[in-house]
């Protein structure tokens, strides 16, 4: 089924033998891995104060210009994962406008130099990210796999699973394992995905994880009309279905979910809603609003996963569609960080982006970009803003003409596990991936 290089058994054997630093097919990430790594690459001296070719528009309502310092209380730290579905083009989000080759590769889809919000004389953020540019973000450059696959579904599986090699390397999801490592099994949920169906990324063993589309779904059953005897009887029955023994495996699973639904809804019935007026109307903003509410509830939820639609799959009309995506992202993130600051949580919430792959190095005749490989990822919140890792080469492409990853997705994940949550990377990632230093304060 999977075209991955290793079977699950081979992979486990490989990992158990401590061969994580071994190159796959004789190639290694530019960024070091494990004890054989060559150490961190110099971080570009840039960030919000770097050379700016284009200034933030004066009218831009930027409210927060100081980067918060992370709380030292690691046990109170939280994470929001924004999944940019469809394959986000790293070279549009942070355009290498100062690398001449960029405009050769991208005949119709390049970000014009005049539209770039410069970080330094090589790269700059897309012009529709003024708030992000002002607030600052850590850009992890060239994240992906050295054995890439151009299928959405294979690469989504790998990202959810936490392996650059295979979508079936683990029987849990990366964020499920992370939740297992940091969470309280007594909580109704430690990790929550925004949506109706739970994400494979949150599959866990020890603690509860779940999906919920909105706060209303959680609070309408419990916490409304509680003095009505019919509603009381309904609440009783709804909860009691969770107590019974299952007639078969599926029935038992449904009953377990009913029990968890009851506990989660009861937990949330007192949640303080965020002001809906302060968030834009996009789906992403709605997801981040729910994330803020869930985290602020302080009822055991430590990780919120926010899938942000599939629109990043810009096979055609990239330059018509991408600015809207960036503007939605910029506005939604700003509303979220404002909300978090108001709630006094700015020092304990980290936001990370994921995306299954980047786009092709060259554009097609539809003014679009087909599937590609490595892309850039963003870490936001109490982080060291600027470029991290090495920018992928625009000239040394792989056999399919695609970008070569410079940071493994496992190294990216290891950074969040070890430096944000204090969880040794080896507890949640096989293969010896090392965290990237210098991104999260104190690391």
């Amino acid at each position: 089924m999977s075209a991955s290089v290793f079977s699950r058994r081979e992979l486990l054997k490989w990992a158990a033998a401590g061969a994580g630093a071994a190159a796959v097919g004789g190639i290694t990430y530019t960024y070091g891995r494990g004890s054989t790594g060559q150490g961190p690459l110099p971080v570009a001296d840039s960030g919000v104060n770097g050379a700016q070719r284009a200034l933030v528009p004066a009218a831009s309502p930027v409210t927060e210009l100081t980067t918060p310092v992370a709380t030292g209380d690691v046990g109170s730290r939280m994470l929001v994962v924004v999944e940019l579905g469809g394959g986000n083009d790293g070279f549009s989000m942070m355009a290498p406008y100062g690398m001449g080759r960029y405009y050769d590769l991208r005949r119709t889809t390049a970000v014009a130099e005049s539209d770039v919000l410069a970080l330094d004389d090589e790269v700059g953020f897309h012009g529709s990210l003024p708030k992000l540019h002002a607030r600052g973000a850590a850009v992890i450059q060239g994240v992906g796999s050295l054995t890439p696959d151009l299928s959405h579904f294979e690469m989504m599986s790998r990202w959810w699973n936490g392996s650059p090699l295979s979508g079936q390397a683990y029987d849990t999801g990366f964020f499920g394992r992370l939740a297992d490592a940091i969470g309280d099994p007594a909580a109704a949920a430690v990790a929550v995905s925004v949506g109706s169906a739970s994400s494979p990324a949150l599959l866990s063993r020890r603690v509860g994880t779940l999906a919920v589309p909105n706060l209303g779904a959680a609070t309408s059953v419990f916490g409304a009309g509680d003095d009505d005897p019919v509603r009381q009887a309904f609440q009783y029955g709804f909860a009691a279905f969770g107590d019974g023994d299952g007639a078969n495996e599926l029935d038992a699973r449904i009953r377990a979910v009913a029990a968890q639904s009851t506990r989660f809804a009861q937990t949330l019935s007192g949640a303080t809603p965020s002001d809906p007026e302060s968030y834009p109307g996009s789906g992403l903003a709605g997801g981040l609003r729910l994330a803020a509410q869930l985290l602020a509830q302080d009822a055991g939820v430590r990780i919120v996963h926010v899938p942000a639609h599939q629109d990043y799959d810009t096979h055609e009309n990239h330059n018509g569609r991408y600015p809207t995506l960036m503007q939605d992202l910029d506005d939604a993130l700003q509303a979220f960080f404002d909300d978090i600051a108001t709630r006094g949580m700015a020092d304990r919430v980290l936001v990370m982006t994921t995306s299954e792959f980047g786009r092709a190095a060259t554009d097609n005749d539809s003014g679009g970009l087909d599937h590609g490989t490595a892309s850039h990822a963003l870490l936001m919140g109490p982080v060291q803003a600027g470029r991290h890792g090495e920018h992928p080469s625009l000239t040394d492409l792989d056999a399919d003409g695609s970008i070569r990853a410079t940071v493994g997705l496992d190294e990216y994940y290891a950074t969040v596990a070890e430096h944000w949550f204090g969880v040794p990377a080896s507890e949640v990632i096989d293969g010896g991936a090392s965290p990237i230093p210098g991104i999260i304060s104190g690391s």
Binding site: M1, S151, S196, S220, A233, Y236, L250, I254, H315
Partner: protein, 404 residues
């Protein structure tokens, strides 16, 4: 050993979109195998044309129209297969306008029990698909790979079936030149100047047109097993084991990729009646079953929160696997809809309201745990009307009602 009525309910849940009110009980005297045969033999039903005026909100009307069609008593196995092909050969309203989604729907209805090759040929040059997977406007000089990849990965062969990136590029090349003429009724046209100027090597065969691409794919050894597995999964909720998959692929190939003999082989197999109560109802199936049970009009928009609106699949792979319908988000969304919509449901039998509501819902394999909860809850409400509403709502959120 389940009795006939439970097996009839099972057949109706699997081979129609939702059983009608009390249908399993009212088919008294029909054996489960006779019911399967009558569903197989039924003529396809063709609903009246939907006419969308310019100022109509097609984004709202189109899903509402299909839901009503699915609830019609004439909608049977053919309707379920039409739905299956929509989940397999996806397109969606987030990228394609309602009139073209409707045109694609009529095409899927026409081929639902027809022939795989003809269906894939039709969908490849269907206006909605050309727009959904970016075939429209693709030119041979630097073709768009989206459809070329997904037709092999998702629609016809499966990931890892042996095709390469070079095959994806070859398919994209030979598929180029098609476009949708927005000035002339969205007619699909072919522009030879933008189409392939020379043959490309696809799956070991030389191809120079969209039609030849589909033929090469349909003749590939991975095609019949992939389609057979997908249809089996769609009708039973489980992938066939390798032996059974090979048998079904052989049936498909022996019949020149005709769909009806494949479907018949799946549903006549002994396992079809034996393997019951092991597939979650999808959000749409659950919603349709609630409509049948409640006998009230319901807006479809709660389906958005439940994660399954017809004509709006989440991505090109369609809706996620059955297991994901069992989730806290879905369970809480069901509870909200079930309770908030239950006030105008029928008044239940005074002497045995629990038995009455279960029969209405075609639930004939119910655990003691569930009936006990229903009885206890019913006993706590004195008013007969209120008790009837309560029981409808509780049945709708019961574990058994969430199973297809």
């Amino acid at each position: 050993m389940a009795n006939d009525i439970a097996q009839r309910a099972h057949v109706l849940r699997r081979l129609t979109m939702a059983p009608a009110l009390r249908q399993a009980a009212e088919l008294d005297g029909t054996s489960p195998t006779d019911l399967v045969e009558s569903l197989l033999a039924a003529e396809p039903w063709s609903p009246d044309e939907l006419v969308l005026a310019d100022d109509d909100d097609g984004y709202s009307l189109l899903p509402a129209w299909w839901i009503e069609v699915m609830l019609d008593d004439r909608a049977g196995l053919h309707e379920r297969m039409t739905w299956f092909w929509h989940t397999h050969l996806t397109s969606g309203l987030n990228k394609v306008k309602p009139a073209l989604m409707y045109r694609q729907h009529r095409m899927l209805r026409e081929h639902a029990m027809g022939n795989v090759r003809e269906l894939l040929q039709a969908v490849t040059v269907d206006a909605a698909m050309l727009l959904w997977l970016d075939g429209a406007g693709s030119s041979a000089s630097s073709p768009n790979q989206n459809f070329g990849r997904e037709v092999m990965e998702l629609f016809a062969l499966g990931h890892g079936a042996g095709y390469t990136q070079a095959d994806v590029e070859a398919a994209a090349h030979a598929l180029s030149g098609w476009w949708v003429d927005g000035d002339q009724g969205d007619e699909v046209r072919f522009d030879p100047d933008r189409g392939p100027q020379q043959a490309a090597d696809l799956l070991g065969r030389s191809v120079s047109s969209a039609s030849e691409v589909i033929d090469a794919i349909c003749d590939h050894p991975a095609c019949a097993p992939w389609i057979a597995g997908a249809v089996h999964q769609g009708l039973t909720g489980a992938a066939p084991d390798e032996g059974r998959r090979a048998e079904l692929a052989a049936v498909l190939m022996a019949n020149d990729l005709d769909i009806a003999p494949l479907v018949a082989d799946i549903v006549r197999h002994a396992s079809f009646l034996e393997q019951r109560m092991n597939r979650p109802r999808s959000a749409l199936e659950w919603f349709l079953a609630v409509r049948r049970l409640y006998e009230v009009e319901l807006d479809w928009w709660p389906l958005d929160g439940l994660g399954q609106v017809p004509f709006s699949p989440p991505n090109v792979a369609g809706w996620p696997g059955d297991a994901r319908w069992v989730s806290v988000g879905v369970q809480l969304g069901k509870a909200q809809l079930a309770m908030d919509s239950a006030w105008d449901t029928a008044t239940l039998d005074e002497a045995d309201p629990v038995g009455d509501v279960l029969t209405r819902a075609c639930l004939h394999e119910v655990s003691d745990a569930t009936t006990t909860v229903l009885r206890e809850a019913a006993a706590s409400v004195d008013d007969r009307r209120a008790r009837s509403s309560l029981l409808h709502a509780l049945v709708a959120v019961s574990p058994e009602f969430s199973i297809a």
